[in-house]
Symmetry: C2
């Protein structure tokens, strides 16, 4: 049977790395001393195998392990458990990448909208998409709705909640969402545009159900969610029955798992239609290589899985639009928040400048 | 209003640390440049404050931030977002501890059983509890049930699934759980004991509901769950309606969050009755200080929250029982898995030796 391959970086000395890799293979599969296993077929079929060990850089090794696909139970929780359950607690191990065998990959539906679906929802077919965020925390529903109205007048494609907006007393979900959705609809009526509002969804299953009901009633078609805050198996199950597109937010995704794997591959596998991540040169220390790997993991061909739209963000500015479009190409959504809001009374003008720069970038791609 | 305090370790140079701490306060609260905030009351009431900065060790600073309690929306997802949402992606930041103001703490029920409830369920009042695990992966329900029967005959208090056992084709949940529960009941009937079986629960909300139904039907009274695999808000909501005790497993809990905070305080806050963690001197690099801090966070008095039972584990041996009881004291459950299974045909004898050592340790505490 074809196996599941996982690629780790392990910090080790040369003389220790073989034993360390073997110990990891045991930890993540049978989790007991092989000599104490009484069934030879379990050692043959269930114990993970060390496929290769290569020095990656001084003191770090790239180790490939092969697992039996059935140990994942063909479910998200089982897969994560096998890949990074116990070794999440071992600081010398980082999870870099994975290769799923066809019968395991087939059990994941991936994005239901993907890039094509998001383009259809927003009516944008010939340029990168634009996105902004409603903030700061502390604004009332009326104040947030005013901001949203201005952003929609300015022609932004998707106006999302700040990921910190959940259900605070100053802007409860059930009050905020109808207000903002209405303000955007009014702006769309004036401009003939198709700006969408993406409210932030959080909570356990019951809370999610209640809030989604509110969003659905007022016609919301895209939502924002943080898969790692929600729990990945919950996210996957939730997305499967959702008739809305999902922007994934990276909040709480701080494992020693490579960003391209976590925010690119895994979020796509579990159903994110778009994935927000920290762009290089902003408030986060992601390199250009990390960002490119992530964007490629999100949107390169991958079996039956629809591509996920990469959304670079985190301290971006209108001045960097050309550079970002040049780097990521057209199958991208640019997310600029604080830099628009910093325009104060000129918010509409700055928003329009952002939108126009993105539109103008098309000829240059 | 009393605020929420979060304590971070930040890696920084002396000349950068003040600006870095301010940037973290902004990132985790208003997430935009303060100069661009047009409402002075938001700067006063919502922007997090830097309370103190102290050098912890060379190149590392202990930074205390104070947040407005209402920014958490008084829910688990909001709390985690505020504490470690975006900064989970910043590798220079580690979350060390938190202090919850009374009105926020009051919204969390914590463990419903706690140590007293687990002692009542197991009928053990005068000694540490004992626990073991069913493994390896790959055994059939019949083979797992045989092991469970032997462990119960040997007098173990709680026999849990290996956390890797979810719903694999070779031991599907719906087949495995009734088999094992029955095997333990038969052993209890012979010995007059009260061994409990704790099956591993995983999945999204729908899957969890289905599997819980199976467990409930056969009389399961304790379950094993990995809160970080499940998603912390899902875990909290799920526990609130569960009539069973919950052992928390640390799988996938690999954030840059101090173990005492994550596996001790946060798991307790969200309802774990017992918390499994890697003991010092095993396969994981936890220090004695980390383990003691964790045990104390789990079981020290904390407002209305019942104490959570600490469960040191991870490569422990029967030979270390005395030392572990001496270190953790009687309000503990010792978990030994592979070291019992390594006894092969002498499994019952080794199990009895473990149980007797724990019983004998009482006089020495």
């Amino acid at each position: 049977m074809l196996g599941l391959e996982a690629i780790y970086h392990i910090q080790s000395t040369p003389d220790q790395i073989e034993a360390r890799a073997e110990a990891l293979a045991i930890e993540q599969s049978i989790e007991m001393p092989p000599v104490a296993v009484r069934q030879p077929e379990i050692l043959r079929e269930v114990l993970a195998q060390v496929v290769s060990i290569q020095e990656a850089e001084a003191g770090y090794y790239r180790v490939v392990l092969r697992f039996a696909g059935q140990t994942t139970a063909f479910e998200a929780a089982g897969l994560l458990n096998v890949l990074f359950g116990n070794c999440a607690l071992q600081e010398d191990v980082e999870l870099i990448d994975l290769k799923l065998p066809p019968e395991l990959l087939a059990t994941f539906a991936g994005p239901r909208f993907g890039i094509a679906g998001l383009r259809q929802l927003t009516g944008v077919h010939d340029r990168p998409l634009t996105c902004t965020a409603l903030k700061p925390q502390g604004l009332s529903p009326t104040q947030l709705a005013e901001l949203a109205h201005t952003f929609a007048l300015g022609g932004i494609d998707i106006v999302k909640d700040d990921h910190g907006l959940t259900n605070q007393p100053y802007a409860p979900f059930a009050e905020r969402v109808p207000f903002i959705q209405k303000a955007i609809a009014e702006a769309n009526a004036k401009t003939g545009g198709h700006t969408l509002y993406a409210p932030m969804l959080t909570g356990g299953p019951k809370t999610l159900r209640q809030r989604l009901q509110v969003a659905r009633q007022v016609g919301v078609r895209v939502v924002l969610a943080a898969p790692m805050l929600m729990g990945l198996p919950t996210f996957q199950e939730w997305v499967e029955e959702l008739e809305m597109a999902v922007l994934a937010h990276p909040a709480f995704a701080g494992h020693r798992i490579a960003p391209s794997l976590m925010l690119g591959k895994l979020f796509r596998l579990l159903g994110a239609d778009a994935s927000i991540f920290p762009n290089y040169g902003g408030r986060f220390a992601y390199s250009t290589q990390t960002c490119m790997n992530l964007a490629q993991a999100a949107r390169s061909p991958w079996a039956h899985l629809r591509p996920t739209l990469p959304v670079p963000a985190g301290g971006m500015t209108v001045e960097r639009v050309e550079e970002m479009v040049g780097f990521y190409g057209p199958e991208t959504m640019l997310l600029i928040g604080g830099n628009l809001l910093a325009a104060g009374d000129k918010l509409l003008e700055r928003t329009r400048a952002f939108v126009q720069k993105v539109a103008a970038s098309v000829g240059q791609i």
